[in-house]
Symmetry: C2
Subunit: 248 residues, 2 copies
């Protein structure tokens, strides 16, 4: 982690914005406009295609200009991420008990990632912005009255959130594969299956996989896993012991 003395600068930008200067010419843009433009580019062509030059071009300014608004590209991405979190409804304002609310935000978080896949590509979670703070605070409060203290509640929130984040790449890969077709009009899945059938493993090498009729989709695995996870949390809250089932 080399040149991270900007840590304070980035955090300051996230929490307090730019602050208006005393001298010099008036600014042509706002940070919000900059972040908006960057989000549009990312929405169109993904984070990989988000270059400073391209964002600048969309705003009609020179590339170097952006560096008077934002110290570097990473900071811009951090701003984009926190802005996105701010657009999501707060968990504790949802209807229902802790389970309904938690399940609701988890499912909607997944839906959000599927709708805006570029969010996945921003994985730098070092900078915690105000919207992330507010969201976490709200998610913790969902467990008020369950007997869990705040630390335990945060543990649940992190576990569920981690569950979502872990499944997102698989679900998105599945989404993309569905859309993809090769020059002959075959889907990704059928293309891959065709390959595996002809030039892949010899039959009998992977019996368990072969014997599987319809492999579960990534979405199904996500939803089943979420239900199991929440079942486990429910056990924890009710204080019951898990049933120690068949250790076959």
């Amino acid at each position: 982690m080399g040149a991270d003395e900007d840590a304070g600068v980035v955090l300051d930008l996230l929490w307090n914005g730019l602050g208006r200067p005393q001298r010099g010419p008036r600014r042509q843009l706002t940070v919000e406009q900059l972040v908006d433009a960057a989000m549009q580019v990312a929405e169109q062509d993904g984070v990989r295609a988000l270059s400073m030059r391209r964002v600048a071009a969309r705003l009609g300014v020179g590339a170097a200009t952006l560096y008077t608004y934002v110290p570097n590209r990473a900071a811009l991405l951090a701003l984009m991420a926190d802005t996105s979190i701010g657009r999501v409804p707060l968990p504790h304002t949802r209807p229902g008990g802790w389970r309904e609310r938690t399940e609701a935000w988890a499912v909607e978080e997944m839906a959000g990632f599927r709708e805006h896949p570029w969010l996945v590509e921003i994985d730098d979670s070092r900078f915690v912005g105000p919207h992330a703070f507010a969201w976490t605070d709200s998610a913790i409060r969902v467990f008020d009255g369950t007997g869990l203290d705040h630390a335990a509640a945060l543990t649940v929130v992190q576990a569920v959130s981690g569950h979502v984040r872990g499944h997102v790449p698989l679900v998105i890969a599945e989404d993309r594969a569905r859309e993809w077709t090769d020059p002959d009009g075959r889907s990704w899945r059928s293309a891959q299956e065709a390959f595996l059938a002809t030039r892949g493993p010899e039959p009998g090498r992977f019996p368990a996989i072969e014997a599987m009729a319809g492999p579960p989709t990534a979405v199904a695995a996500f939803e089943a896993g979420l239900a199991w996870l929440l079942d486990g949390v429910e056990l924890r809250i009710s204080g019951a012991r898990p049933p120690r089932a068949g250790t076959a």
Copy 2:
């Protein structure tokens, strides 16, 4: 997903290797050497710093040479990922029942990611190689005798695997933050906390977070979540109903 007509080429490379040519000069290297060198670079400086030129330099060949072994950088990364999976012990060879074995590979997978953080940065799961296949086959067989069919077993495997993958970035960020110190010798956490105390949110804005004595570490959240998830799976296997605890 533009120029993916190489899909077959990449899969062929993963499953069947290069195949020896009939004419021309002898090859200077093997794909294994190439992948090894790339993994060394990634181990040292991460995937971002893994450039074709740098790998080539380490092998003492020209950069363009690599393209006769591998169609592009993405394929090289896919080979690295599958090779890594091949170095992990197969789940069904571990001791214990389904729960012990599943917990064991989940914990070890997390440990592996922490030891080799570059693995996280390879997120392209489109190409399924032979080692990934073998691992999945083995993980499914762990549930033989539990009553779950293969599809349900794979769902559990995907859920647990997703749980691990989702927590990895947070755990790694925490690891890095622990190592990091600013010019004044302060840790990342204390630097961030110092900032939040002085220029962060005004007191009382986030009551739930403020009232939390020791926030849980990412590792703790991972392990607690894993236990809950497995509790839920245990309910599913034993056929019991979850206890529908307090919907406060």
